[in-house]
């Protein structure tokens, strides 16, 4: 079975001496360890931003991601939602990740048990490129991953694994179609007649 490829974004804080040069999850604030695998851990305890009451009891025996919880390492199936997020914050960087272990698949992305970054992509804006060049060089050196143009990211990531994007669900059929499947025209006419007192 192929490893799963996804796309996501990280924050890198250039002003924080402790986290500088490290990829940080924008929501859970998890630091991704360089050259090591990140393992998902459920942090949905009451009081945290991710908490969803009643969905997941914190239990040492449980593996994250739990399908009914919001925990796990997030990645999109496609690059489009990733690039949309990158336009919103200056020190948010996109890239590809490789995932394995338990994978909870959603229509728009997946939540994984284990993940490692595969590559980062160069920001599209020339101004952002200029401002973040040194920082990105530092990050890619730290994680021993390449810095690619956005247009090359998917092709590069595909060398390492596969997408598990689910097939889109077929369009839901109208009520009349379902009735026609279940009943013959004669039955339909008889029922309509009865409904109107005939």
């Amino acid at each position: 079975m192929n490893l799963a490829v996804g796309y996501r974004f990280w924050r890198v804080d250039p002003d924080d001496a402790w986290t500088r040069g490290r990829l940080q999850s924008p929501v859970a604030e998890t630091l991704w360890p360089p050259l090591e695998t990140l393992e998902a851990e459920c942090q949905t305890r009451p009081g945290l931003r991710l908490a969803r009451a009643g969905l997941h009891r914190h239990d040492e025996q449980r593996i994250s991601p739990e399908p009914s919880c919001s925990c796990g390492i997030y990645a999109y199936h496609d690059i489009t939602p990733m690039t949309r997020a990158l336009r919103e914050e200056p020190y948010m960087f996109g890239g590809a990740v490789l995932c394995w272990g338990r994978i909870v698949i959603h229509p728009e992305g997946m939540r994984a048990q284990h993940a490692r970054p595969l590559a980062l992509c160069r920001p599209e804006s020339p101004g952002v490129q200029l401002r973040t060049a040194a920082l990105l060089a530092e990050v890619t050196r730290e994680y021993a991953i390449p810095l690619l143009e956005l247009r090359d990211l998917v092709a590069y990531a595909s060398e390492f694994g596969a997408s598990y994007k689910p097939e889109p669900a077929p369009p839901s059929r109208g009520g009349l179609d379902r009735v026609k499947d279940a009943l013959s025209w004669r039955q339909i006419v008889r029922r309509i007649g009865k409904a109107f007192g005939g």
């Binding site: 490893l3 394995w100 909870v104 992305g109 284990h114």
Partner: protein
Amino acid sequence: MGFTSKPVRVIEIPEPASEPLIAPEREPQRTEREEEAPVPTPA
């Protein structure tokens, strides 16, 4: 990041046996200085 839709499937992908995750190292490029290094002349 967050998903608004419900999960559709759960799969288990085994841990990779080898380390295929780090980009292959490139051959070190020779610098201009190395190329221009003088060839020692025989004594």
